[in-house]
Symmetry: C2
């Protein structure tokens, strides 16, 4: 369970401003599979307190793209419904703090350090997104899956090397939708990695990594610094 107030204070905001920002946020709880009600008026900033969620974009019917997975501590920006609409959907029961982007920024503006920190993070996120997404366009299915697993290990349990075990909150379909792969291809890659001893799986969601460095190497030298939470 991540605290929004704590995250803000890390940006060296004054406690007063942190409190006022907190007051601005609306706590929202979603249970597994539920969707954050969409808003046609305003862009929103959403802080994830606990659980996990997927941010999707539906350009055309029958083709869902998953833009990102989000975990506790993440700060997600959800654009208002306009060009191809965005949806934030709970993968597990999830607790959020939802802000209207404009009023959040109005207030943050009083604390230029916060605003600037948010900007710096945003520029970094843009670059990460660009490098990462662009790489996706150049990578094989195996590399995409390896890259995905390494990034999940880092985000879910903070591991970048050695071995660890995580529970993936998303389905194979979700993974495919986020990497531009079909569900069968995702499954086959899991099988291959399992056969080669790079991972072990139990049930649908448990994945054990035996050597994260080796897996990262499979991803095509994905630098671990590229795989941090967005905000």
């Amino acid at each position: 369970m991540a605290s929004f107030r704590g995250a803000i204070l890390l940006n060296r905001a004054s406690p007063q401003v942190a409190d006022r920002l907190c007051a601005l946020g609306e706590p929202v709880s979603l249970s597994k599979g539920e969707e954050l009600p969409s808003d046609a008026e305003d862009d929103r900033l959403v802080f994830v307190s606990s659980g996990s969620a997927k941010l999707t974009a539906q350009a055309e019917p029958e083709q869902t793209h998953i833009l990102a997975f989000h975990f506790p501590g993440d700060f997600v920006s959800v654009l208002r419904r306009c060009d191809g609409y965005f949806r934030l959907i709970a993968l597990t029961d999830v607790e959020l703090v939802v802000f209207q982007a404009s009023s959040f920024l109005d207030l943050a503006q009083e604390e230029p350090a916060v605003l600037r920190s948010v900007l710096a993070r945003s520029i970094q996120a843009l670059h990460r997104s660009r490098t990462k997404m662009m790489r996706l366009g150049h990578k094989s299915a195996r590399q995409r899956i390896a890259d995905f697993l390494v990034s999940m290990a880092e985000r879910i349990c903070g591991c970048t090397c050695g071995s660890c075990e995580i529970s993936l909150p998303m389905s194979r379909r979700d993974i495919g939708d986020s990497l531009g792969l079909k569900i069968e291809t995702v499954s086959r890659q899991f099988t291959d990695l399992r056969d080669e001893g790079l991972i072990e799986t139990t049930g649908r969601s448990l994945v054990k990594f035996n050597d994260l460095k080796a897996l990262a190497a499979e991803a095509g030298h994905a630098l671990s610094s590229e795989i941090q939470p967005q905000n």
Copy 2:
């Protein structure tokens, strides 16, 4: 030839701050093929006054990824050399205004409206990048090329429908590197589109569009709003 000062004033900055920002920038001219000297210390913000340039990332030797093409009026952020280094390379003779990101932001901080506007643009750019790049992962070669051509028509000559003619400043290899396609595939797609009468080509760089809407449809309903200059 775009004016940096003019672009800043559009953000409703005071003329004083605009002047001080101008003073902070270092004008740089590059001739075709030249590269902006890299900087290991600071992230930089680069304004494109005239000409065009490509922003590349070299994760591994022998594999260059083009992150974006840039045209007059664009505001590019070039990260310092760290994770896989970034290079800004002139496609034509180009005039730039180069800022140290930190000092630019220090100054912009005095004008919260500017800072916030930059932030808002940056968040938008992040979303565009995500949607666009993610789509690339799901698109066929034909759709990628069509999408690319439509976006170039919009950025180079401002056309979104009807017919127009542009001169592409980048090579087929550059196009491939930016879309995750091989040069031969790029060429074949050009041939196909030419055979179908959607485009006409003269020499290496001239491309004439007969029906941009039809081309956009080929791109898979790429919304024109998704194809605007970054900043």
